[in-house]
């Protein structure tokens, strides 16, 4: 099997409202950043894949406009997923594994500011039984949070602690939208307070993937993708156990998160990583993910969301790709040797992707 690595990562400064710039104007500096990091020009990239959603901007085929920022002459090989860019990265990874490409540019962006994000996200729900009730994204997460509290798996004090840790960690992240000590806030949809919820914002991110020796040539310390898997659960919330995330656990197992690095045997059920970038837009979802991944059993040896996570910046459709990018960047700069990155999509952690990244 070919070795594939993330060799560069870039992101915008995430802001509440970027009305002064269009998607492509927001995206271009990020694309130029990752290309400059590798010394590649757009024409050197074998495959380009992006993730975004037309529902955020309210315009059909908005991603084709964003493609102007890539430079499509001579003609390029390109694809788009109407999902978080983490899934675009998955597609690009497969493309490289098949030998059809040696390098790939993956980007994602989301401008939530033009619309009402809580309403926009209702359009991803079951259109027959659920969407006509317009349950917004915070309400659905709050149902999950209450289920956790009822099961005595967390309490409001722990949730507030997760919010405080995330935003304190974001102090050292120049791209984050919310930083530092923030009040827990008023109940938005109880039991979730505004502090338990992610900021609404606009932003973009990009990574460059490369295979084998190309990756070694482009980066001093490539972040090798040792495993990558994604799984989905039933869409009906009333069918699922909202306190658990079996799809995350299965994806992590398949990605090798519980196996030892370099073929060493891992400790049963404990992830063999030093860093975990979890895509948990709500504090309560971090509790679910930590349990599903056995991170609590790791006795604090795993650094969780040192970037501040989705609670510090949540440009929808790019947030998951940023988790992969942040984990890779930690490996690039030697702060991590083996990291887990997670991305989610859909209400209450319906779909989950897990990657295991490693430095040499």
């Amino acid at each position: 099997m070919r070795e594939v690595a993330i060799v560069a990562f870039g992101q915008s400064v995430h802001v509440r409202d970027s009305a002064e710039i269009s998607e492509v104007e927001m995206l271009m500096p990020v694309l130029h950043d990752v290309l400059a990091q590798t010394g590649l020009a757009a024409r050197d990239i074998d495959f380009t894949c992006s993730g975004s959603s037309d529902y955020l901007a309210g315009r059909a085929f908005s991603f084709t406009m964003a493609l102007d920022g890539v430079g499509a002459w001579p003609p390029v090989s390109e694809s788009h997923v109407e999902m978080d860019g983490a899934w675009a990265l998955y597609e690009a990874w497969v493309k490289i594994l098949t030998g059809e490409a040696d390098t790939a540019l993956v980007y994602a962006y989301g401008k939530s500011s033009p619309g009402d994000l809580r309403e926009v996200l209702t359009r991803q729900l079951d259109p027959y039984y659920v969407a006509p009730l317009w349950p917004d994204s915070v309400a659905l997460a709050a149902l999950q949070a209450q289920a956790l509290i009822d099961a005595k798996l967390t309490d409001e004090r722990e949730l507030a602690g997760i919010a405080a840790r995330s935003r304190a960690d974001a102090e050292s992240n120049p791209h984050a939208q919310l930083r530092g000590a923030l009040p827990a806030g008023e109940p938005l949809v109880a039991p979730l307070r505004s502090g338990d919820c992610p900021p609404i914002g606009d932003g973009a991110a990009a990574v460059v993937l490369a295979a084998g020796d190309t990756a070694r040539r482009l980066a001093a310390r490539p972040a090798w993708i040792r495993g990558l898997d994604h799984r989905i659960e039933a869409h009906s919330l009333g069918v699922r156990d909202l306190t658990d995330s079996p799809s995350t656990r299965l994806a992590a197992q398949r990605a090798g998160a519980f196996e030892g690095p370099h073929g060493l045997k891992g400790r049963g059920g404990v992830p063999t990583v030093d860093t975990a970038e979890l895509h948990a837009p709500f504090t309560s979802q971090e509790v679910v993910l930590r349990r599903a991944l056995g991170l609590d059993a790791a006795d604090g040896t795993v650094r969780i969301n040192p970037s501040g996570g989705a609670l510090a910046a949540n440009p929808v459709m790019a947030t998951g790709l940023i988790r992969l990018g942040e984990a890779a960047a930690r490996i690039h700069r030697g702060a991590s040797d083996r990291a887990l990155a997670h991305a989610t999509s859909g209400p209450c952690l319906q779909q989950n992707l897990v990657a295991v990244l490693e430095g040499e």
Binding site: A19, E20, I21, S22, E23, V24, E25, M28, H32, A42, Y55, A57, G58, R59, M65, L67, D68, G69, V70, G71, A72, W73, S113, P114, G115, D116, R118, E119, V120, R123, P127, Y128, Y129, V130, A131, P132, L133, W134, P135, D136, A139, L140, A142, L143, Q144, A145, Q146, A147, D150, P187, V189, A190, P191, L192, A234, S236, L237, G238, V239, L242
Partner: protein, 318 residues
């Protein structure tokens, strides 16, 4: 830095969806104040019913009637109801496991406050006064003092007179559209009867309307260049279908829609051609914009009377 333009943008889409046998029975049942579930191969009852087992993907058809009262499995207090939600006063979102069901249904609970709601509480359906065969036929749930249902679930044939077979799901989303720097500059200049393109610093092409990036080179186009107002028809089509939009009702068919290369631009924009019979329009025709009173963009382009442009002068822009 120019002022950033914004405008309201409303997207409405009334999706009409076909219902399969299971969804049709469930939604028709709601119209008749009957809640149906579907039984899975291992005997579990799924409510609301699905056509396929969420675990095994086995096809499901065995309908059963469950109670219209049940137990809250989790809840969330919504202090500020939003547009389209079931109640306009503060309410609880609830997942309710109806008597006889093994899964829970999402809906709203009408309660006096968060202190009146808890997981495990008993609730029952409040039916909507007018029911059409939709999930909103359940107006909401209300607290229930009655005993748990007995003898459920009962086999139900799922047959009703005049079954609902289609679901129309109206949706409306409101946006504030902001076109960004390049297009804001373009639109502001246009309102002053000037057409401004932007030049790519790499390939030197002038794009109009500019979108802020050169799609060939992938770099920002930040040098403004005034182009036009005159231009050349590079290609065109004859439209024989009457425009349906109210803004265009006055345009008689047939009319000509053309690509026009404005003088100084490296990309043709498109516009309607007027002031000349439709069958006299030709490639190379020289045209100029016509503005209506107070118009923020040209209404159409008309011939200037100049000799036609030489083909070689615009062949790269066809």
């Amino acid at each position: 830095m120019s002022e950033v333009l914004t405008a309201p943008l409303v997207v409405e889409f009334p999706f009409t969806r076909s219902l399969g046998p299971v969804q049709s029975a469930f939604l028709t049942g709601l119209r008749e104040r009957t809640v149906l579930g579907v039984r899975t191969g291992d005997g579990r009852v799924v409510v609301p019913p699905t056509e396929y087992d969420p675990v095994t993907a086995e096809e499901l058809r065995e309908l059963v009637e469950v109670g219209s009262a049940g137990t809250v499995t989790t809840w969330a207090w919504n202090p500020a109801p939003r547009r389209g939600q079931p109640l306009t006063t503060p309410f609880a979102w609830v997942l309710v496991r109806l008597d006889g069901a093994d899964t829970a249904l999402l809906h709203a609970l009408d309660a006096t406050g968060p202190d009146a709601v808890r997981t495990g509480m008993r609730v029952r359906v409040r039916w909507a006064a007018e029911r059409t065969g939709a999930i909103t036929d359940i107006a909401c749930f209300v607290p229930d003092d009655g005993p748990a249902g007995e003898g459920l679930p009962a086999v139900h044939r799922g047959e009703f007179a005049d079954p609902v077979t289609l679901l129309t799901a109206p949706a409306r989303l409101d946006y504030t559209y902001a076109p960004g720097r390049a297009q804001s500059r373009y639109l502001q200049a246009l309102a002053g009867h000037r057409t401004v393109g932007e030049r790519c610093p790499s390939c030197r092409k002038v794009y109009v309307p500019p979108r802020g990036a050169c799609p060939t080179c992938g770099v920002a186009t930040d040098t403004q260049v005034e182009v036009g107002p005159r231009g050349t028809v590079t290609t065109f089509c004859i439209v024989n279908i009457k425009a349906r939009h109210t803004a265009n009702l006055d345009i008689e068919v047939p009319y000509v829609y053309a690509h026009i290369a404005l003088d100084g631009a490296d990309l043709a924009l498109h516009a309607r051609i007027g002031g000349i019979p439709y069958d006299r329009v030709r490639m190379g025709l020289r045209v100029e914009p016509v503005w209506t009173e107070g118009g923020r963009f040209p209404d159409h382009y008309r011939p200037t009377g100049e000799p036609d442009a030489d083909y070689d002068s615009y062949k790269e822009l066809v």
